[in-house]
């Protein structure tokens, strides 16, 4: 019999790490903290600066925010791409799908509605 699957890794609870020494765990959290501070400082800097092309600022802030959420997920919540984490990642993926549907769908529908709606003062005129 092949013994490849006999040593299948057991699953991990979300938030749990594989067995590593305390030193490396602290190091992991410190890395996460450093990256998060770097990304936060960058987005605060970008929001108030004249040094970059102005229309790019909202996009930059959104990208930095998504990057920072990724840092938090990996270094603080320990949601990784390892085979012991598949269930946690699949749940996260489904959650993200719903989040994007709700936010994207609402913005799309409401923008479309307000585009097709008569300006409010004209509407008031007609009701008189």
């Amino acid at each position: 019999m092949s013994d490849v699957d006999l040593h299948r890794e057991p699953d991990l609870a979300p938030g749990d790490e594989k067995d590593v020494s305390v030193k490396f765990r602290v190091l992991g959290y410190l890395t996460g903290l450093a990256l998060a501070i770097l990304l936060t400082a960058t987005s605060f800097f970008v929001a108030g600066t004249d040094l970059v092309w102005q229309p790019s600022i909202p996009v930059a802030i959104i990208v930095l925010a998504i990057a920072q959420m990724g840092v938090h997920l990996v270094f603080f919540l320990h949601i990784t791409t390892g085979s012991d984490n598949t269930n946690n990642v699949m749940a996260l993926a489904f959650g993200l799908l719903i989040v994007f549907l709700v936010i994207g769908g609402s913005l799309w529908i409401m923008a479309n509605l307000s585009h097709n709606m008569m300006p409010m003062d004209q509407l008031m005129q007609m009701q008189r």
Binding site: D5, R8, G15, D16, V22, G32, T40
Partner: protein, 213 residues
């Protein structure tokens, strides 16, 4: 009989894997609990996404009142962000202390987490009180209603988390690092880190985009 099963398993390795998986038994309670709580956290994020969607839709509906750019004080927001980030880190230290079962470090790390969480709450409370005093309360415009709902909901989560934090400190003090207490603490740590993720979205979308626009 065993020889036959052995050979058939040998011929079809996939069958052997299936067999193996069937006899693994249920997952340990820690994994089941953590996973269930992870599902709850994701549903909480879905709820927050509804508030974010409402805020984004109502962003321009200021009814002649003040908009984000004139209301938000980014220095306060940076302070709040620092507090929450540092408290998330301290919570991580408490998780390590809980795993190595060090009572002293656990209580120290949790106390730091709590103080930083309370500092965040007090800054946020002062900000809200200041806005209301300036006549920009939640009833001023649809934009401000959405703002107070979104940011206030996050603040409520942090308040609830602080109560949970104090409960965990007391439980570890009274009952020690029992398996069930460890599971509760795992859930608390997940909750606290998830709140920080939501705050990243709040300060980026509400405050930074709000002041830039």
């Amino acid at each position: 009989m065993t020889a036959i099963t052995m050979t058939s398993a040998h011929r079809n390795p996939h069958l052997a894997v299936l067999d193996e998986a069937e006899h693994e038994g249920p997952a340990p309670k820690r994994i089941v609990t953590g996973y269930g709580f992870w599902i709850f956290l994701l549903s909480d994020m879905v709820m927050f996404s509804c508030f974010f969607a409402a805020y984004a839709v109502l962003l321009g509906q200021t009814a002649g009142g003040p908009g984000g750019a004139e209301l938000f004080n980014l220095r306060n927001v940076a302070l709040e962000t620092g507090c929450l980030l540092a408290s998330s880190f301290a919570c991580g230290m408490a998780s390590i202390a809980a795993e190595v079962r060090s009572h002293l470090w656990f209580q120290i790390a949790m106390a730091v987490t709590c103080v930083l969480g309370l500092a965040f709450l007090s800054i946020e409370f002062h900000e809200f009180a200041d806005l209301v005093a300036r006549g920009a309360g939640p009833s001023r415009s649809a934009f401000l209603s959405a703002f107070f709902t979104l940011v206030g909901c996050h603040g409520l989560h942090v308040s609830g988390g602080t109560l949970w934090l104090l409960t965990m400190m007391a439980q570890v003090f009274a009952k020690g690092f029992r398996a069930d207490i460890q599971r509760r603490f795992l859930c608390f740590a997940l909750f606290w880190h998830a709140l920080d993720i939501i705050w990243v979205a709040v300060f980026s979308v509400v405050y930074l985009l709000g002041s830039a626009a």
